[in-house]
Symmetry: C3
Subunit: 338 residues, 3 copies
Amino acid sequence: MKKSLIALAALATISGAAMAQSSVSVYGRLDASLGSEKAGASGAAQSQSQMSSGLLSTSRLGFRGTEDLGGGLKAIFQLETTLGVDTGAAFGAGFDRQSIVGLTGGFGAVKLGRTETAFDDIRDISVGSALWDSEFSPTKIAYANSVGGVAVGHVADYSSRSSNQIRYESPNFGGFTGGISYGLDEQASPVKRDVTAFNLRYRSGPLDVGLGYQEQNHEVSATKREYTTLAGAYDFGAVRVSAGYNMAEQGTLESNGFVVGANMPMGPWDFSVGYAYNKSENAGVDTAKSKGLAFGVTYSLSKRTRVYAAYLNGDAENGAGTEVAERRLYAAGIRHDF
Amino acid sequence: MKKSLIALAALATISGAAMAQSSVSVYGRLDASLGSEKAGASGAAQSQSQMSSGLLSTSRLGFRGTEDLGGGLKAIFQLETTLGVDTGAAFGAGFDRQSIVGLTGGFGAVKLGRTETAFDDIRDISVGSALWDSEFSPTKIAYANSVGGVAVGHVADYSSRSSNQIRYESPNFGGFTGGISYGLDEQASPVKRDVTAFNLRYRSGPLDVGLGYQEQNHEVSATKREYTTLAGAYDFGAVRVSAGYNMAEQGTLESNGFVVGANMPMGPWDFSVGYAYNKSENAGVDTAKSKGLAFGVTYSLSKRTRVYAAYLNGDAENGAGTEVAERRLYAAGIRHDF
Amino acid sequence: MKKSLIALAALATISGAAMAQSSVSVYGRLDASLGSEKAGASGAAQSQSQMSSGLLSTSRLGFRGTEDLGGGLKAIFQLETTLGVDTGAAFGAGFDRQSIVGLTGGFGAVKLGRTETAFDDIRDISVGSALWDSEFSPTKIAYANSVGGVAVGHVADYSSRSSNQIRYESPNFGGFTGGISYGLDEQASPVKRDVTAFNLRYRSGPLDVGLGYQEQNHEVSATKREYTTLAGAYDFGAVRVSAGYNMAEQGTLESNGFVVGANMPMGPWDFSVGYAYNKSENAGVDTAKSKGLAFGVTYSLSKRTRVYAAYLNGDAENGAGTEVAERRLYAAGIRHDF
């Protein structure tokens, strides 16, 4: 009995400290790799040994928390910065990845601040696995307006995040969810610079399909860009396959592309492959074509830590079909979550 | 008994982790709102929809802790950055709000580093409530040297914080406290750029009154600014009223202003109103007059989370009495502490 | 029994929160002092009152953690930024002090990212105590290429850290440890900009000796710098003495220097003294000579908090033996770890 009283006393002491902490969780992901990359104009590019941060998925550091307000209502917040674990770079643009405060409940979730657009969620389906959301992604080449600094004629890729954004996410209706986001124009009228997006998604058992749309306006430069994505994935157990179709328009310039991928878990191993292709034309005349292929394998040392090896190969052609740029990289690394 | 032993064992495990954490507390405040603002030259200003950070009170993220050194002596530290929850901006100027280490004890408190000047504490009394310390404050207009970018002829507002500062805060003597702060000149002599301030405050039951003085020197530009504030508040229970008088001098330029406010708590609701006025003259000739009025209402979802709506209206005149600048904003938002 | 059940219940509640935190530890060091410094060209330098950050040891804020992967293997990470507690400066260059992820085990440790070079560890031995690793160090003057902004003819001091670095640290073999680090060239060939370093160290009881070597290449400016250090310390109990010899070469320019130090703990007190000397010649012709002397005393208020006073005096001569620069400072401060 004495011991339990001591326990209680010790508990009281701790709980003060622990409680003070309980509303905030510090978390992060560090992804560092060593490898070689060759990127630039075709024929002129030279390969280089390098350390990279975020090859598999962006290195980050964040703070987040939830407060139960009763009646199913919760206050939420999240602050997250990109990290360059290779150089220590952080907070260069503050909490550039996540900076939101909001409420969740039976009605869904409302978030205010900087975060992903609703459109960005659907792109995530087709890129298949955690392997495909960063530098290593073949889509980085296929949809890139330049490969290794050599400009090509695609519609610029979409903005995955927006500041000054209000975002609503619906609850789950028998597998269906929807989301809408609007990043406010904060220039004086008539200049507009806003980002509007929505998504519709259906998830049930092994199936995950979604449709996304995003519109970006900039009235001064008179540019309006529209992005449409239809993507899906099916998990067969031994293998998960995914595919997505993407269309981007800006005036008379139009880009059409797709991405396909598969990943196979085998015990602690996970093997992945992905391919992305994109073709653009201006008023019916070809302007650019680019494609990327990537392979990856990860080995889990624990739920939070894995080592990996990856290979990426891609190139870009001009409208005449001549290869103008190339990018090739291989690397091995470690990714740790905390 | 077995259970209590298990408890102890579990406790031992936890306490290692908890103890490692116990000296630091991560905390913050996220204040995001949606609204409309019209600010600029009178007649020419256009209104704009926007998301704001820190309308009620500045969004922030910090780390702080206390170590008990025995005999009533404690070591303290605090690091705090301004956050722009709308864009994720943070650490742009490092821990710009608080960056101090110090000691507290029976003698009071001594803090070294960057923090508020002793003068700034007294301004806090007259601005009445948590509603009035940020963008939303009518004093932001009344004491502003420009409203919406249109310069007017006031003495520039005081520096609320100083780097390289040593600050002393006395213990409480029967309701009386005093404080003094000195921000060092860190330029080679004879250039001086220092900030000296003190305050005297009396708090007893519903009454809170204070006097503050601050002097800012810059020998190169040959400017010396002096600020004096007398402020007080009385809490009647149903309503808390506050008022402050402010005088600023720079050579022949002199500004005189006041601020009055009231806030009424009603269950989870809190209604606030504030008005601020400032008038300047140079060698007896009027140079500027400006004023601001603000209303606010907050609804507490919990101790840590509240939603709010706010309205602000202000303008500035030149010496001839012609309105030259205006600012009007209304917004609704959420503020979450963690 | 009831109480122990309550303890268990409370424990369960806490452990969720505490566990969520257990993988990350937030830590730091804040070192602030007030003093006077006179630094610049001899005869022309003027003394100035100032607040300093990191006089004894650099102020910092960090996040670190360890994950047990089983079989003796652990994943580790550390992120650490320099703080300027006097001004709040932080994250100016991100996590400039530490930004690593790695693995430790029976084989030693492997770290990827930004951290100290293997050479830097040996310099730490000869600088004797915690007193000697920052602004206060006499080596700051002796090895400085300029004292108070007046350039002198030494080989520039070594880079204590490198980005894009892979570092290996051996396990302890009967007192012996070794380390090697390589900071990758990340410019396109043939430009090289890499940092290679190793160390060998023997620690046994009161003895600590080490050898370190570092090579820095920059092919564009055609500079290659080599640094060699031999250092050791012996703890007699009442006093710990340390000494180090340092050689630096860059083309025909060669610098040779040494540092000696002692520190005496007496209860909560610790008295320190250090002296450093450096002399350079270019193709046999003297170019520069500089030296620094420092005294310090610390008083521990606790394991984590100490107050201190320090004095430093140094100067630099040109090749003709004329004193060209001087630096003198004294200060008193507080250092707090959390």
